[in-house]
């Protein structure tokens, strides 16, 4: 080998060594020095945390009828790193998204300035998503993906809307059961760490940590949608007839405190909560306080009987409708002379009940008001419940002892009134109102069950029986609520006609809150029903609880009794019978 040849060989060798050394240095630089940087870059591009969304629990009524459901929808997301021709993608999907292609292109052009992902449209139906997928497949385009989401739907629309409530865009309950049971309903989203290839497709073998989603629990209410429908239909009819400012109706099972139906007017559609004003969203049964009027007389009357200060036959002189006390005159709707305690309640004498309260004394009266649950939250699982307003005796004026017994100078919620009446119906036990009966997981396993809860024994069974006897006579020819009678059943109840409080002080002339609260059948109550209309429009002299709320009660109670298949306890007066029906009736009687 000549020198030149050897030199050339050495030069080539050195050249190769140098070249490979450069490669080696670069390799070391990439693999060792810059390792962290490139690992992070790769992870950012190919590793993702995939959210597995939990399904929100379903709300059902007592008979498993769905009140709130989830409808699956998709959110359209664009990934900039996978889109080459933005205008082509925009044109391909514009039709299905019902958007202008230029608007989509503008949105796509914004990608990369902050994030490589952009939401093009939310809440599109599954079918639309499928059509978009097909369009992209045909055009051989990629970069558009779909995130799973759901929208909450309330199949019954306005029915029970204030009780169920609704959720916001983050799927958080805003009001009603959706809010109070949020922790049970929401579930827990899961996640999975995934690695994707350059086309965005997941590489399953490289899956990382995975935590499955835990679906929300299903909530079962005590509400019976059949009764709710009766209540709402009749309440709508009443609103059309009397045009009140607002109206409330509740049905409760007195023995357990279960709420069977609850409705307020005005109302709203929870599927479109944005269209409603706050006044429509109020569940007036728990967030409104009103002066109860004469329905409150059950408190004083039962208290004096319980304290054995009087008997139902003890007489009270009702001053012929004109009683002066503490410099003011207290009047009755109709002048009355001597009445028994039983008659005081039956005829709803203001003077009679005021005199009973004077006999009872401030402290005892206040004690019984509190024992009936007024001035404190009932603890029902509904959002925004208020306490009402019951001042302690040291804040009472001299006049209050005669005004509070007839339901003035106190403010209560409709739920508190029906709870108090239910305690008369069930023999003196104040039950905690309940609206949720159980919570189950997605497999049907019970997570929580809510049992009826007795708050306290307010009055004895004997006193409750005496009050019931008087309340039965309220719904008679001698009482104030003849129109509340239900054919075939004995009803016990109490009317209420409270003057509306003027926000500027005093009372508004000629404007009333009319109510009727009662239970049926009187001797074996299956339900308590409250009807309350705020400022109804009726002929002058006819705006009374007995004439406005009484007939509404009667219609609701009759339908409710039919729905619950209650066996009539009284003779049903024959109503209008058509010719064909008469023949059937006659043939029936001949068989009997």
């Amino acid at each position: 080998m000549s020198w030149n040849a050897q030199a050339r060989a050495v030069t080539v060798c050195f050249g190769l060594v140098g070249l490979f050394s450069v490669y080696s240095v670069r390799l070391i630089d990439l693999q060792v020095v810059e390792h962290e940087k490139y690992t992070a870059l790769a992870a950012e591009k190919h590793n993702h945390k995939q959210i597995i969304y939990a399904r929100r629990g379903i709300i059902r009524d007592a008979h498993d009828e769905a009140l709130a459901e989830n409808v699956p929808v998709k959110t359209v997301v664009a990934d900039a790193s996978h889109i080459r021709d933005r205008m082509a993608v925009a044109t391909a999907i514009a039709n299905q998204l019902e958007m202008d292609p230029r608007d989509i292109a503008d949105k796509l052009n914004q990608i990369g300035k902050g994030s490589k992902h952009i939401v093009l449209k939310a809440e599109i139906p599954e079918q639309t998503a499928e059509k978009i997928r097909e369009s992209l497949r045909v055009a051989n385009l990629r970069g558009i993906y779909f995130d799973q989401d759901f929208v909450r739907v309330y199949p019954n629309g306005q029915m029970l809307s204030q009780v169920i409530g609704f959720i916001d865009h983050e799927h958080k309950g805003i009001m009603g059961i959706e809010r109070t049971m949020q922790d049970f309903l929401q579930g827990v989203d899961g996640f999975r760490y995934i690695e994707t290839d350059r086309t965005g497709k997941e590489l399953v073998p490289y899956r990382g940590q995975e935590n499955p989603a835990k679906d929300g629990c299903n909530v079962k209410l005590t509400i019976d949608l059949g009764l709710q429908n009766i209540l709402e239909t009749e309440l709508d009819a009443a609103c059309a007839e009397f045009k009140p400012k607002d109206a409330t109706a509740i049905i409760m099972r007195p023995q357990t405190g279960e709420i069977l139906a609850m409705a307020s007017r005005p109302t709203f559609d929870p599927n479109k909560p944005g269209d409603a004003v706050p006044d429509q969203q109020k569940n007036r049964s728990v967030v409104d306080m009103i002066e109860p009027g004469s329905t409150f007389k059950i408190v004083t009357t039962s208290a004096v009987l319980e304290e054995k200060l009087v008997t139902p036959d003890t007489t009270v002189y009702c001053e012929n409708g004109h009683f002066q006390y503490a410099g003011r005159v207290l009047r009755d709707a109709h002048p009355m002379g001597v009445l028994t305690v039983h008659q005081v309640l039956m005829k709803s004498s203001n003077i009679g009940v005021a005199k009973l309260a004077l006999q009872l004394g401030e402290t005892k009266l206040y004690e019984y008001i509190r024992r009936y649950g007024f001035g404190q939250r009932t603890g029902i699982a509904l959002s925004g419940e208020i306490t009402g307003l019951v001042n302690p005796p040291h804040r009472w004026s001299k006049l209050d002892i005669t005004r509070i017994p007839m339901g003035q100078s106190v403010a209560v919620t409709p739920l508190q009134i029906i709870s108090a009446m239910s305690s008369i119906a069930n023999g003196g036990k104040l039950m905690k109102p309940m609206i949720v009966s159980e919570v189950t997981d997605d497999t049907g396993r019970k997570i929580a069950a809510f049992a009826p809860e007795m708050v306290r024994q307010v009055i004895s069974t004997e006193t409750a029986r005496k009050i019931t006897s008087a309340l039965k006579d309220v719904v008679s020819k001698q009482g104030t609520a003849q129109k509340a009678a239900v054919p075939g059943f004995r009803v016990a109840g109490k009317t209420g006609t409270a003057q509306k409080v003027d926000p500027r002080g005093g009372y508004m002339s000629g404007r009333y809150v009319t109510s009727f609260v009662g239970f049926m059948p009187a001797d074996d109550p299956r339900f308590t029903l409250l009807v309350l209309l705020d400022d109804p429009t009726a002929k002058e002299g006819e705006v009374y609880g007995g004439t406005v709320a009484g007939p509404i009660f009667s219609r609701m109670a009759e339908k409710a009794a039919r729905y619950m298949d209650l066996k009539p306890t009284e003779e049903i007066p024959t109503q209008h019978v058509s010719f064909g029906q008469k023949k059937v009736a006659q043939s029936q009687s001949s068989r009997d």
């Binding site: 399904r55 009828e65 769905a66 459901e69 989830n70 409808v71 699956p72 599954e126 799973q148 759901f150 739907v153 199949p155 019954n156 629309g157 306005q158 029915m159 497709k201 997941e202 590489l203 399953v204 073998p205 949608l225 429908n229 054919p487 075939g488 009759e558 339908k559 039919r562 066996k567 009539p568 049903i572 007066p573 024959t574 109503q575 209008h576 019978v577 029906q581 059937v584 009736a585 029936q588």
Partner: protein, 121 residues
């Protein structure tokens, strides 16, 4: 001469060749198996991904259909349809309902012979 010839004899070392071939084959097989298994892993991963996707889609569709059924069979919709189609259904008046009382005297609880045919013969 004989000695020299013996030294330069280049006989084929079968054992060594065999060793090389076997070890190379093992290495090659291991390598190919690795690649094959890795491909299989990716293929099954892809199948798993597709099946999972299909399952999710079916579940989602199922949920959608269930929600649709709930909506269509909801009380509000049925009431509307009832009103729209004017079926003319009227509630039965209370005085037109005849209630049959159940017997509570215990009669009928005991076992009775329904037919004596065949027993008396």
């Amino acid at each position: 001469m004989t000695r020299n010839r013996r030294n330069i004899t280049q006989s084929i070392k079968v054992a060594s060749i065999f060793k090389v071939v076997v070890s190379t084959s093992i290495l090659a097989t291991a390598g190919l198996s690795y690649v094959y298994l890795k491909n299989q892993l990716h293929q099954y991963g892809e199948i798993q991904r597709r099946l999972e996707y299909e399952l999710t889609e079916i579940r989602t569709a199922n949920e959608g259909v269930r929600a649709q059924i709930t909506q269509l069979s909801s009380r509000g919709i049925i009431e509307k349809k009832l009103a729209k189609n004017s079926l003319g259904l009227l509630p039965i008046a209370s005085d037109q309902i005849v209630r049959l009382n159940q017997r509570h005297d215990g009669a009928g609880d005991e076992l009775r012979v329904v037919s004596n045919r065949g027993f008396n013969q």
